[in-house]
Amino acid sequence: MIRSSIFAVTVALCFGTGGAANAADLLDEIKDRGELVCGTLNYIAGVGFLDDKGEWSGFDVDFCKAAGAAILGDPKKVRFVATTGAQKFPALQSGEIDILSRSVTETISRDTTLGFSFIGPNHMTGQGFMVHKDTGVTDVKQLDGASVCVLAGTTTERYLADWFKANGMSFQPVAAENSDQMYSMYFDKRCDAVTMEPPYLAIRRARAANPDDHVILETLIAKSFEAPVIREGSPKFFKVLQWMHYGMITAEELGITQANVDEVAKTSTNPVVLRFLGVEGTIGSDMGVPNDWMVKVIKAVGNYGEFYNNTLGKNSHLQVPRGMNALWRDGGAMVAPGWQ
């Protein structure tokens, strides 16, 4: 019996920190640990990428760097873990990682049945198609009977089946284990079309031998709002991340940038700005982070506009337009509640 209880404890440890994690808020645990563990991608430049010098970069990576800056005061205090499509949720559920920032599409079933909390969404896009120009296809409705390359185990695979079924059309799925394989099959004409979020399609088209031979169809068959995700049950951790996301948007609204944040903190007389940067008030410490947390975040990755443009947008090699990800006042969908 003693042996069995020892074994049970071992198994409990193996199967995750379930009990321990639930007792305390993850925010406190991370502060004690002095390190944030972030599950992300390591192979898509601009999104999540590990380069030959061991440096991590990209949109999903930068979110975690910002979180490291907010909670621990240093974007370098983040350990990145490359996760595959199939093991990304088990890794989060088991407690192997604290945040999963891996272009995960937020859906109701994922939010309500998996025991997750989504932050943001911080990247709004949809599911589209890229087709070979010589097929003559200009609209998604012309894809009846086509072979479609799709990434296995993603929401795109599900939406694809749902959309064709809803429209009474048929297709031949060609599933790939990773996106390199998927695009290589598409370029080899194993399939007529490939389905993914248009920014990623644009990334691959830009790298094709003849970018002009491929058309990205305008119609989106599903919306795909991507969000970093954490385990349920850490309300303080969740609030910090959620308001960090809002804070980056607010910084853009207030015109605070990576370059001028120190200057603004010193010279501004605007009470909104002073409260926002933690020069006045105790918003930060009430949440369990330093009062100047947003200064650290903006210094690490910039405001939302900079964050987007440096990784995916006009300052990157990808040149994906802001589109829906522009601020609400510029006609986009990025909003943040007031900082009072």
Partner: protein, 391 residues
């Protein structure tokens, strides 16, 4: 057990033996109890943790609707069917590639083994080279190679290679004519069954009476004639459906996908190399005297191989080759890497949809366990039969 001086003291010996067995029994029982408790504890803890982390566990999800397509299937399947059915499709696809792979890899193995034993140095060296190269390259790489080779090497759908009308070779698969049963199909089948029954009757009669006529031409005629007559009267039993290029793809007819072909090629060529060594060992294990005796009886070398060497070699071959077949079946799970919709691919996509990872992984484990047990059962029976001939 040592008997020693207590040799005649039978009751004492029995008592000792009983004591020992009881002690052994007790320790064994204790061991089983502990093992059961450990497993039970592990399951409980895992279930508790799962309940805490996701709130969902159990296999009820199998009856929910799966919203994904699988591409190729032996039974009709489409998005909206249950996860259970999707798993059945996966298992059938695994079985399809494993069964064909076992047959093909045995042929490859036999040919390469005979080649290695060939008197021609060139053939022997070539076959030796094949074994060395193929065995030492990881199977996953070979699968990726064949898949890429088929996609890059073959023409696109619009430039399909068509050696014969109705047969199209493209990088999306080989499209073939497929037989379609007509109403008269069952009539002709019935006639054929009757014909075969008659032929079997003829065979028995021929054996009994030793009638002076050649069995084969007559038997064959009697077997086939009723079916031919029925087909003539009732019309052709099957028609051929021809694949046609409509829109993006060929429709109609039969499709053999490049993923399946790559799997079959990879598994057969890889396992074939191992089988070749097993078969070679089996053949060399038959003593040389047997061959010489056969030759001195005036048998042709081919006959010696077929009638004397191979049946005896089979006894040596079957146990190790059953391992090789089991490996092939299990290695078919690598199909997930090239998108062949076998059972692991179904489990992965179900896992992504439902996030019930422990359940999905245990389903795959259970399926492979059952498949392996069935394979080894069949081969054990075969082994028992061939061994019996040893007397």
């Amino acid at each position: 057990m040592r008997s020693g001086p207590a040799f005649q003291d039978v009751p004492g010996r029995v008592r000792l033996a009983r004591f020992v067995t009881r002690r052994e029994f007790q320790s064994q029982a204790l061991f089983i109890v502990i093992a059961v408790l450990l497993v039970w504890g592990a399951i409980q803890v895992a279930a508790d943790n799962l309940a805490e982390s996701s709130g969902k566990s159990g296999f009820a999800f199998l009856w929910q609707k799966a919203s994904f397509e699988l591409g190729e299937s032996l039974i009709p399947y489409s998005a909206g069917d249950t996860y259970f059915k999707a798993f059945v499709v996966g298992v059938l696809n695994t079985l399809k590639v494993a069964a064909l792979g076992i047959v093909l890899s045995t042929f490859v193995g036999l040919i390469i083994a005979l080649g290695q034993l060939s008197k021609s140095v060139v053939i022997a060296r070539l076959c030796r080279g094949y074994v060395e190269v193929v065995r030492n390259v990881p199977l996953l790489l070979q699968l990726l190679f064949w898949h890429t080779f088929l996609l890059r090497g073959l023409p696109t759908v619009r430039q399909a290679l068509s050696p014969v009308d109705g047969v199209y070779l493209t990088n999306r698969g080989l499209y073939l004519l497929s037989p379609v049963a007509e109403p008269s199909f069952w009539i002709v089948m019935l006639a054929l069954a009757g014909g075969i029954a008659l032929a079997v009757g003829l065979w028995f009669w021929h054996r009994k009476t030793n009638a002076a006529f050649r069995l084969w031409p007559w038997g064959l005629t009697i077997a086939v004639l009723p079916a031919l007559l029925a087909a003539y009267v009732a019309g052709a039993p099957i028609t051929w459906e021809i694949p046609r290029l409509t829109g993006f793809n060929f429709t109609g007819g039969m499709t053999i996908s490049p993923e399946f072909t790559a799997m079959l090629l990879g598994l057969s060529i890889y396992t074939g190399a191992f089988n070749a060594e097993i078969i070679r060992a089996g053949i060399l294990g038959v003593s040389k005297g047997q061959v010489e005796a056969g030759l001195s009886l005036g048998l042709h070398p081919g006959q010696v191989m077929r009638k004397i060497v191979l049946p005896q070699a089979l006894r040596i071959i079957i146990p190790p080759i059953s391992n090789s077949y089991l490996n092939l079946t299990k290695e078919s799970s690598l199909g997930v890497a090239i998108g062949y919709p076998e059972v692991v691919r179904v489990a992965n996509i179900t896992l992504a949809e439902t996030s019930q990872s422990l359940e999905c992984v245990s389903i795959i484990m259970l399926i492979y366990l059952i498949l392996s047990l069935i394979t080894s059962l069949i081969l054990n029976v075969m082994n028992a039969q061939t061994s019996r001939e040893e007397r």
